[in-house]
């Protein structure tokens, strides 16, 4: 039995209310037929209940609501995150979210077959998210979905919808079968910069750990941050940040406490092996601090909360971290409980709002 505890929005927020940007909110496809009408031919008529049915994680695991918080599943039985009204009342209004970055969870960039089909689904997703979500609430910010395996198509898609005033980033899935630093993908970064968009990396269904797919979900769920690390290392080694100094990258749901280790290790190895990639002009950690942001969820619970803040300080920037809830998923983090009190008030403000507002250039978005 699921007991739902209502969280009621404040009618009159106080003037000192902490503003919040949630950098990871998953709007989901509810009725498949409602999504299908956005899919062009020849792809639409090829989708059938007995062939492609979207993507799914390869694991089962002990759960109450599957991938989602059970209290976020709408009464119509469709997937959690598919009901705007529920999302609004349960999350946006209840927590006083000023902006929610919609990150979806349908990433054609991770499809391993039929790249043209992937590009068709990406286009459908973008039209769907604009019409069914962004138009409904000005608090929503959107992500352009692309099939990165066809860079020309991905660029076409960025050019087609990237100027939408609520769209703030291009979404790439954290895959484990290729590295996104390769020059093959550079046109995507170029298009993102040209359209004043960030590039975000979020896990998809096919993400693997350093040892592939281990037997247990717990192993996989704990180990997959390795895939973000590999993609980040790849971006630096292939000179993406040298080539695109204005590129802004967000690592979403990657966790972040591994950053001090990675930056120290990366810088150390770079000093030894710079000659292999001499087009990389600066220490890897410098690019990461200046051009890459991370999100809070999944936030670790540390016995001594001071240690968590020490990890934050070790990164060497107070602008690298942006709050995220991962609503409506089962590992949802609350905006008012996930950041421990060891984080000073000014840093909490930065994490909850200011860092994301600056990163996503919300002042420019509002102006245009």
């Amino acid at each position: 039995m699921t007991q739902t505890i209502e969280r009621v929005a404040e009618d009159q927020p106080t003037p000192t209310r902490q503003k919040i940007i949630d950098a990871d909110v998953h709007e989901m496809v509810g009725d498949p037929l409602a999504f299908l009408k956005y899919v062009d031919e020849p792809w639409a008529s090829r989708i059938h209940p007995e062939n492609w049915m979207g993507v799914a994680l390869p694991y089962s695991w002990p759960t109450v609501g599957g991938l989602a918080r059970p209290d976020a599943i709408p009464t119509n039985g469709f997937r959690a995150g598919s009901d705007y009204n529920l999302m609004r009342s349960q999350h946006l209004d209840a927590y006083g979210i000023d902006h929610a970055v919609l990150t979806g969870l349908l990433y054609p960039g991770e499809f391993k077959v039929q790249p043209e089909f992937a590009a068709g689904i990406a286009k459908a997703y973008n039209d769907w998210v604009i019409n069914e979500w962004l138009t409904k609430d000005p608090r929503f910010l959107g992500s352009v979905c692309v099939a990165a395996q066809l860079p020309e198509k991905a660029v076409e898609e960025i050019e087609r919808v990237g100027s939408h005033p609520q769209i703030v980033q291009v979404m790439l899935p954290v895959i484990s079968h290729d590295t996104f630093g390769r020059p093959y993908y550079h046109a995507i970064y170029e298009a993102a910069v040209r359209n004043n968009l960030a590039v975000a990396f979020h896990q998809g269904a096919y993400i693997e750990t350093a040892v592939g797919l281990p037997p247990y979900y717990l192993e996989w769920h704990t180990g997959i941050s390795q895939a973000w690390q590999c993609q980040l290392i790849s971006l630096v080694c292939h000179g993406v940040f040298d080539k695109f100094p204005d590129l802004r990258v967000a690592m979403i749901e990657s966790s972040w406490t591994w950053l001090p280790h990675l930056m120290w290790r990366f810088d150390h190895n770079f000093r030894s092996l710079r000659r292999e990639v001499p087009w990389v002009q600066r220490l890897p950690s410098e690019y990461i601090r200046e051009q890459v942001k991370f999100t809070t969820q999944p936030m670790e619970f540390v016995d001594n909360p001071n240690h968590l803040y020490q990890m934050f300080e070790m990164v060497g920037s107070d602008e690298f971290l942006m709050f995220s809830s991962d609503y409506p998923h089962w590992d949802f983090d609350s905006p008012d409980r996930s950041i421990p009190n060891s984080f000073p008030e000014d840093i909490r403000r930065k994490v909850l709002y200011e860092n994301a507002a600056k990163f996503y250039r919300l002042d420019e978005k509002v102006a245009r």
């Binding site: 000179g239 000093r271 030894s272 000659r275 001499p278 087009w279 990389v280």
Partner: protein
Amino acid sequence: MSATTTRRRQRIVVCEQAELPPGQTRLYTAGHRQIVVAHLPEQGYVALSNYCAHQGGPLSAGKMERMWVGDKPGETRQDPQRWVLICPFHNFEIDARSGCPVAKLGRHRNATYEVTVEDGSVVVYV
């Protein structure tokens, strides 16, 4: 090799010019002091502490080469002007002229010394 001390600094005769051809290095040792002298082709001589700024590895036991640079991803070439000493301990690169690690190592660097040629000898002032 010989060394004489003035009031201000020590004068060290490292070797005859012919003993240090272009592109080569030579180690001068006196007690704990170790200085590596390098002959940079068409640029003359440089001298720096032989102990790497990182963990004290002996630079003279590594390698001197023209520094690898790249103008864009995937392309490599050697800078005709810039030489580096590769430490044998971790392969860190130390700029032969400035003594600075090519990839920043905090504020650490190798000490450098004045080198001259006097009467056909390579002379270092410490």
